[in-house]
Structures are given as C-alpha cells and as structure tokens.
C-alpha cells in the first residue's frame, strides 16, 4: 500500500442521517467516522441501495481503514462550497448527485432546479481545478444535455456521468468509482469487476479506471469476462495475451502515420500502401487508446 491519500466528498441528500439520532449538524460536512454505523446490514437506505453499496465499498476497504481514504459527506452542494471557501477544503474526488429533493424550493420548476444544480456543479469545478467529479445520479439519463454543452463542455475531461446501479457495462457504476479510487492510491491494486477481484498493474499503456471499459469495447463483454476469470490480472502481458487470441486485423499506413480499421479501396487509394497489423501488435506499439480509438473512428493518427 502506498503513502498516497485521497480526499473524497460525496454530495447527496439521500444519506439516512436521521438514523444517527441528531448527532450531526446537517448543514456542514459530515465526517465518515460518524456515518460508519449507517453501513451496517441492519440499516436501510430507502430507495438508495446502490449509494449504500458504494459507501460500504469505500468504508470497508483497507485503504479507508489505513487512513489513505478521507471521506466527507455533504447533504447539498452549497454546504461543500462553503467548506471549500471557508475551511480550505479541497477534495481530490467529488461524487455529486444531481437531484436534491430534500432541498428543492417549492418556487422552482424542474428546469430551474436543473440550472441551479448545474451552476453549483460549475462553481465547484471552478473552485477545485485539480479535482475529478463523478456525477452519480438516479436521473443521469434525464440530465438536460444543453446544460452540458452551454455550461459544462469545457470541463468535459474532468467529470464523468454515471447512473446509480448501472450494470450494463462489465462493471457497475459503483465498482467503476471504487476502482478510480484504488488506482488513484495504488499502482498495483486489486480492483473490483463484478464479483471478482482483479490485480491491475499500472504501466505506460495501462493507467486509468476507464481502461477496463476500453478493453470491454475492444474484446466484447463476454470475451473479457472469460479472459479475466482465467487470468485474474490486467497487465501489459495479460492484455497482449487476450488480444493475441483475436483474428481481426488492423492496417498501418506508414507513409501517413495512421492506424486504419479496414483496408477498403478508399483507404488503399488515399493512404496506401497499407500493412496488416494485429490487435496485439497495435497495443504493444501504440497502446490501448490507439487501439480503441481506431475501432471507434476507423482511423487513428499516430
């Protein structure tokens, strides 16, 4: 375990803090120590099982127990903004809900409310230029897109929208956030993918929590599941082995320094001559993002 620490702030009004028998000031940051009793099996989180799961994952981890994870909770964005401004509180990671039903003004309609939340998110992104944000919400698919474009586009690389409890990808939203935290703290953590614990070896081409999703995109979900069940490890060596089992090919235009997904007449005419290259070779030479990039866009400038 490394010496690195991570400060995490969860901003969500669904914490069942009423079960703490009035021990807290609910307008201030709530330290994780106080909420530890809430992750006991007997405590129910009405309508928020996934938020409970995420909180339990974090608080039960060895990194929390060793003090490498410092977690605070705010019931509304304004409380964390006050802490940032008045207490020099600078979390490295913010897990930000989108709906604050317990704080909704009766005078605001749904759209005004969305603008207000977007403004608060934007203010936090400005106040915390080095922090990463997960917008983690039950209504992720209903967040008005124009708020992203007009207000949040310039921050696009610093936040990720995730629906609570999403299990369509190889790993749930909760696992994805948890793996982000582990990879922030450790170069060789055991990350969670479904029910499995997989060792992740960081290297020049593997470094990011989204790398698992790039692998899923390239290999397909079932194929990656099978590979991980056998190998129990994500490293350059095991990824190369996974890709070596693949029959599909890519093409390299040496003259134009471009990786190409198919040797169509157009690409031969305009970027030829093309040299065949396997997925494994492409990964070895150019990395994971080049490989998923060429599959997503048909070409990738090297």
């Amino acid at each position: 375990m490394g010496n690195k620490n991570i400060q995490i702030c969860i901003i969500d009004d669904s914490l069942p803090f009423q079960k703490l028998n009035g021990k807290i000031d609910d307008t201030k940051l709530i330290n994780a120590k106080i909420i530890e009793p809430l992750i006991e099996q007997t405590v129910k989180w009405p309508n928020e099982p996934y938020l409970r799961d995420l909180t339990a994952l974090i608080l039960n981890s060895k990194y929390y127990k060793s003090g490498n994870i410092i977690l605070n909770w705010a019931l509304h964005p304004s409380f964390s903004i006050t802490a940032i401004k008045q207490e020099n509180y600078f979390p490295d990671l913010v897990i930000f809900d989108w709906e604050f039903l317990n704080f909704r003004s009766i005078n605001r309609n749904k759209e005004d409310e969305a603008f207000k939340v977007a403004d608060e998110l934007k203010e936090m992104l400005d106040l915390l230029p080095d922090s990463f944000f997960f917008v983690y919400s039950n209504v992720a698919s209903q967040i008005p897109i124009y708020l992203f474009k007009k207000e949040l586009d310039k921050y696009a690389k610093r936040f990720q929208v995730l629906p609570k409890g999403n299990h369509k990808l190889i790993l749930s939203s909760e696992n994805l956030i948890y793996d982000y935290i582990l990879l922030y703290l450790d170069d060789h953590p055991f990350i969670r993918i479904g029910d499995q614990e997989i060792r992740f070896d960081k290297s020049r081409y593997l470094e990011n929590y989204k790398d698992i999703l790039h692998l899923e995109f390239i290999l397909g979900q079932e194929s990656l599941k099978n590979e991980l069940a056998n190998k129990k490890e994500i490293s350059e060596k095991t990824v190369r082995e996974m890709l070596q089992n693949f029959d599909f090919k890519l093409y390299l235009s040496k003259d134009y320094h471009i990786l190409i997904s198919e040797d169509t007449e157009f690409f031969k005419d305009n970027f030829g001559p093309l040299t065949e290259i396997s997925y494994a070779e492409a990964f070895e030479k150019y990395g994971l993002y080049a490989l998923s990039g060429v599959l997503n866009d048909n070409t990738f400038k090297l």
């Binding site: 992203f148 990808l169 994805l176 989204k210 599909f248 866009d297």
Partner: protein, 175 residues
C-alpha cells in the same frame, strides 16, 4: 417511395452493410447509442430546408481544418465541434444531429452516434456534414452504421441538392 421501392436502395440495420465478420464492438448497438429521446430536441428534420438550430450558432468550418480532416490529421475534439452527422431515415427524410453533443450514456467516449438519430432502427444512408463558407455544405457517406452504399451515393447527393437549394453541395465522399 414507389411500389415499396425507394430510390435510395434498401434500408440497412446498423452495421448491416459490412461485408466482413463484425468485430465485437460492432456486434450490438449499445443502449446509450440507441437513445433518441435524449437528443430529440436537437435532431434537425431537413424536410423543410433550413439548418440545425442546435447549437444556436451554425458551426462553419474553415478550409484549413477541412483539409486536415481529409488527411486525417485532426484533433477529434476540434473536428466534433464542426461536424454534423446525418441519416436518411426509413421515411426518406434527412435528419441531422450535431456531433459535438456530449452523450452522458456513452461512458467510454461520451459521443453521439448515427443510431442516436434512428433509435437503432434501420435507415437508408448515413454520413457526415460540414457547413462551409459561401453557403457550401460538404457531405460524405462516413458512417460505420449506415454508410458504404456506393451505388446509391449519387442519388443521395442529388437529394441533398434538392433539399438545400440555397446551398452548394460538395461531395467529399471518403473523408
């Protein structure tokens, strides 16, 4: 459409025109790439001429960037600001969506795709479109999902010319 036959040829399923075995990423359309409802307000129906009203300012590409795109020497995030994706849907209507939109349901790339316009349904054709200076519209058939219908490409270009009479349509097939 006459006697069930379209001048645009046959409808195709997403990725249906590929002549090779499909790699895993093309074997199914992700849910986040089939959600039309999320983008419905931003999809422009070109039946009645006019240009998309989202983003509010039409994104006009300059010649230098267009040349870089032709040579595949572009920064993707910059290209997306100027690129509009289009389909000719099953009702033979051109629908257009700005590629610069962020898709929160695509966890990996945050991108909109042609299937966000069609809800994952069949379509005749798809491609990319750029608005240039001097009322020029550049179009190509660049769509993994609905592209690659060479024999009908001239018909498609002519259709764009019919719809966009006030514009000069430039065929940049292949970029």
């Amino acid at each position: 459409m006459e006697n069930g036959k379209s001048k645009f040829g046959d409808l195709t399923e997403p990725f249906g025109r590929s002549k090779r075995p499909l790699p895993p990423h093309k074997q199914r359309v992700e849910d986040g790439h089939k959600n039309r409802e999320l983008f419905a307000d931003f999809i422009h129906n070109a039946k009645n001429n006019g240009t998309p009203n989202h983003p509010s300012e039409l994104q006009i590409i300059d010649d230098d960037l267009l040349n870089l795109i032709k040579k595949r020497e572009y920064d993707k995030s910059i290209k997306k600001k100027y690129c509009y994706i289009w389909v000719i849907n099953k009702d033979e209507i051109i629908e257009i969506l700005w590629e610069g939109l962020l898709n929160p349901e695509d966890t990996l790339f945050n991108e909109v795709k042609h299937t966000n316009i069609t809800a994952g349904e069949k379509a005749f054709h798809g491609g990319e479109l750029f608005f240039g200076k001097d009322n020029t519209i550049y179009i190509n058939n660049g769509s993994d999902r609905y592209g690659d219908a060479k024999e009908f490409w001239t018909v498609v270009v002519d259709h764009f010319k019919t719809i966009y009479k006030k514009y000069k349509i430039e065929d940049i097939q292949g970029i």
